[in-house]
Symmetry: D3
Subunit: 248 residues, 6 copies
Amino acid sequence: MRLLVINSNTSVSVTERVAEAARRFAASDTELVFATGSFGASVIATRAEDAIGAHSTLDLVARHAGDCDGVMIAVSYDSGLRAARELIGKPTLALTEASLLAALTLGSRTGLVIWGHGVTSLYLEVIDSYGLGSRICGARRVDLPIPDGPLAERRLNEATLAAARDLIEKEEAEVIVLVGAVLSGRSIDLEPHLTVPVLDGLRCGMPMLEAMVRIAPRTATSGSYAFPGGRESSGLSVELSERLARVR
Amino acid sequence: MRLLVINSNTSVSVTERVAEAARRFAASDTELVFATGSFGASVIATRAEDAIGAHSTLDLVARHAGDCDGVMIAVSYDSGLRAARELIGKPTLALTEASLLAALTLGSRTGLVIWGHGVTSLYLEVIDSYGLGSRICGARRVDLPIPDGPLAERRLNEATLAAARDLIEKEEAEVIVLVGAVLSGRSIDLEPHLTVPVLDGLRCGMPMLEAMVRIAPRTATSGSYAFPGGRESSGLSVELSERLARVR
Amino acid sequence: MRLLVINSNTSVSVTERVAEAARRFAASDTELVFATGSFGASVIATRAEDAIGAHSTLDLVARHAGDCDGVMIAVSYDSGLRAARELIGKPTLALTEASLLAALTLGSRTGLVIWGHGVTSLYLEVIDSYGLGSRICGARRVDLPIPDGPLAERRLNEATLAAARDLIEKEEAEVIVLVGAVLSGRSIDLEPHLTVPVLDGLRCGMPMLEAMVRIAPRTATSGSYAFPGGRESSGLSVELSERLARVR
Amino acid sequence: MRLLVINSNTSVSVTERVAEAARRFAASDTELVFATGSFGASVIATRAEDAIGAHSTLDLVARHAGDCDGVMIAVSYDSGLRAARELIGKPTLALTEASLLAALTLGSRTGLVIWGHGVTSLYLEVIDSYGLGSRICGARRVDLPIPDGPLAERRLNEATLAAARDLIEKEEAEVIVLVGAVLSGRSIDLEPHLTVPVLDGLRCGMPMLEAMVRIAPRTATSGSYAFPGGRESSGLSVELSERLARVR
Amino acid sequence: MRLLVINSNTSVSVTERVAEAARRFAASDTELVFATGSFGASVIATRAEDAIGAHSTLDLVARHAGDCDGVMIAVSYDSGLRAARELIGKPTLALTEASLLAALTLGSRTGLVIWGHGVTSLYLEVIDSYGLGSRICGARRVDLPIPDGPLAERRLNEATLAAARDLIEKEEAEVIVLVGAVLSGRSIDLEPHLTVPVLDGLRCGMPMLEAMVRIAPRTATSGSYAFPGGRESSGLSVELSERLARVR
Amino acid sequence: MRLLVINSNTSVSVTERVAEAARRFAASDTELVFATGSFGASVIATRAEDAIGAHSTLDLVARHAGDCDGVMIAVSYDSGLRAARELIGKPTLALTEASLLAALTLGSRTGLVIWGHGVTSLYLEVIDSYGLGSRICGARRVDLPIPDGPLAERRLNEATLAAARDLIEKEEAEVIVLVGAVLSGRSIDLEPHLTVPVLDGLRCGMPMLEAMVRIAPRTATSGSYAFPGGRESSGLSVELSERLARVR
């Protein structure tokens, strides 16, 4: 199985971190292909950057997904997820959706620990758009900068644990989902220090994407996920433009 | 008052039709500026094109909104609406949201007549994302091609009326919203042939945008609509890149 | 354009305050007609008074709306709003609905600062009845008396700001709506002291009602907003009784 | 136990029909007091009449509920229900709420057979305002006139049965609620001809009101159902005005 | 009228306490039959014990409900409620549902005081499964052990009052429901110390079950509550197996 | 990896069919253990049988799950799913939940084709209890008997296809989930005859369970899924009783 893992922003260093985590959680015989956005935000953090990132996701899918069996959008806003499903017609997951689906099977009340400032509302909208809002019992922000050394790492982990404990104690959270690229990959290390399962995007997403590839659902030819093909466009990358134009 | 009216796809002919309708519904002393997308779909119809269109919306806002008091996104998927609000911090509306807000004040049950094939699901997602789904009593598709003459025009109008009547009779619709660029502007002409108010995007959107400009809410400096500024990006238009980089 | 502005309680002093604010927010060429309830509560504060106020709203509409183009119910419980729409068949708005509709276009999470004691539940019911409850992120009460001097004014403003800040900080509110007659008109003055847009009923309602009058939707002749006419009644004011009896 | 049964419209003949049914369903040792509205619609059918009827309900409660243990509002729109609860502070039920509560205990999916034209939307709003909308699987209208003889009676019963069968077959209704004064009292006779329980307002409401009186909950002195007392009003009946003014 | 009151766990002492309370709240001429589970948990507290308790409920219904007019499941998780309704086809209530139905008629916002540790999530699921979740404004846990003397009793009562006051003050609860066997029966004594109605399961359930028996709805022969009969089983009690096998 | 696959009813022939499908969809190096209920319904079809089946699920988990890494409850009502999660604290899935989770990633609107009579309501309750009801666009019943030969097989497949086509055409379903043991395993064969993905329980459940085992979430020690241990019981199988009694 060959999977495309997309970083929709333009930071190669982010792609490298994603690649390390993705390899850790993918099956040993899964081949992984990584791609970094060629335009857009250095780091996706705002609504505008998320919207540009969705375009970047599509661009990367058009360039690289052709000989892959599935696509992982390694962005915590899940930028362009549904559009990518329509465009490529192969199993496609993204970080936040994947961790929420896994969480559904582990507890009735999911608490979110969100990295970042002023983005809770945006994440909750993403989750509501999946119809999963009723399973969220609360959210807590962790507002620290990206850690630049062991001390900062420890402070971030401690703030994350404190937020999770608050959700468990006050909101009766039965499973914790870590949201945001900076928290991704930390769930395994933090889990022993809490009393409920803790999840993050790549840890859940890689095995679940492999599962979806094995389930091998057919591509839709009706409905809003059926890409009609034969679409005219201009000003896009050659690959995306050709993909849009391709006869279904 | 000076308003920017955006067509996020690349068809100048669509912009011209939009301009005609926008001028009809705007106040006589409102100055209108029109802008057409410089990249993306010729006509936005699919999820992928909508995602690219959101980027185009932001690009147009960055290029043209600087000296305007408000922005109308004249796309029926409301492509990039919330991201544009964040980016520009001025009153910004879009077609489907505007007609739904007006509909809320006219009946308890809104019926949708949607032009296009396979897009009902996408429109309902847009509406649910506004938290307005509970007011929708049903949707009907009108699947005819863009009319190319008086006969086709008549057939389209008749199909639209039939769909609306079905919603009124079977779903107890108390107000009808016409959704989709091709139906936009038809509500005034069709209304006398039905028994409930009929609305479309520009007819509702232009007066409501003018109202929002007069209400003159402040720009947010906290929350997910507060654009932080100082953002790094690459591969975007100069204007959009500079807008993202500007210090707030 | 000629608009009827209704005060459904019997306090002429309240009507005078409403008139001052309404004139401030209406367009300069809009003619305003004001009417005060002829029966019912001196000030509407309880469920029973709201119910009586709804009757008063209808009575005032029957007496005064005949030669008006639209109606503003200047009561924060929106007393009798839907019944008035049915009775008169012209654009009709009310304070809380109008400010909520404007808020929908400014942030994803609306926080309510409510003036009064024990009425949160009643306001939330009104908002839920509009299908807009999912957009409310929280409510805070301001329980101070009607201010009787500059000091009390200042205390009220400070309490309102504190409540709004709490909603912004703890509930991630992205727009604040001031609810209750005493807070109405304060949003413009308080807005600069907060980080998100702040709205109130007349500031939003007057421009939006003017927009609805310009949209000029037809009167329904089917559904629950189509007044059948020819209704028998007794014990009501002559005007209301005649209005109910009028052949459609 | 002494119960007040209110007819909020002004038709004594309606009160007589209500009285007959209420006596049939009340316990033999329950004393019933009946009251007819002194103002408002001859028959409540529209939104405006419902709003006036709510005032009438309060007026009747103020006049007659003083020495009663509970109140039944025998109007299918439940006009003034919550306001009456606040005003009187004693167990108070109304027709549609009572039959829905009983239905909740008999099936997962409640189907509504509604008598009347153009009122489905209004009834669904009432039910949604109780938070019970998710249990409704569908509604069917019966649009026949009030029957004036055995033949018309039979036609009405047959139309009701047909509507109920349609709900059972197509919407998987597991319990049927008959809504509207004309259908009230028919559920017992129609039930044997269907395959699921059939309910109506007085049949459910009288025993449930007696149950609530026996449960004997305390009167609230906080929250939106705690009547503050000491309220100023004018232009109301002496009894209602005094009730509002009474010190709690 | 003859009612079966079921204790689905195996503790005879619990049945005795239930019996005492049930007799207090039932009508004087109602005959009560009590039954204790013959297998399962000594005290039902966990999800697994609740699932086993549902089987026990059915077993007890099969053994004892034959000559009864209605069934009260005196377990606060309402274990097996819907399955029992299907099996027996007679009015059947359970503690938490009954107290919630009564609460619906007394306030708009219901606060829950829940006895036990880690079970809030389970109770909220039960309540959501009834479609009543939107009426709950908050929940508070009381985590004390089963009281073993007057001092412990007092501490439990005080903790319950404190939790209720917190719900009234912070969540604007307008009615309090005590949830959990240990709190059952305390509502009458605690009510005078609070400002809103306080309810518990047997106090509400006994009169409401009597009301449902008097309403006398027919047994369903279609839908998911129509027991088909003629079912094959093995390894169950003779009575339950015969009940499942009985021709409808 | 070693997985327990549970058939909670007592038909060994059903277990054999389940085993065949489970082996087909599990990874080649996954070891599967199968277990059949030792008491309860021959075939689970009714609410009562589902409740007894939940007990049977727990009994089988207690007997066989000790040395397994995860549990698949191969019952379409997902009988006892949450209780089993609490009892065993290892990844546990069931048929309907698993196929719905996969469906969430393939289309916005899921249509259900349900095998069986009168059980739609029960399945919708199960799905609502997962918080996933908003993603369901409609359900269709297939009421044919269990096929007993090639002709009956063909008729069943054709009825299933017809139901799916109706959901796609009329309800705009974008993914179809086959619900009920008899339809399980058919999705792969039927998919090519439709225009959207078609899923069933074991096809989705086996790979997803393997994914969850690889994600390896910790066992909860707080919340409603943390089994407290040390529980007293009687009348249960030795294994279940010991499992309940085991110190955590």
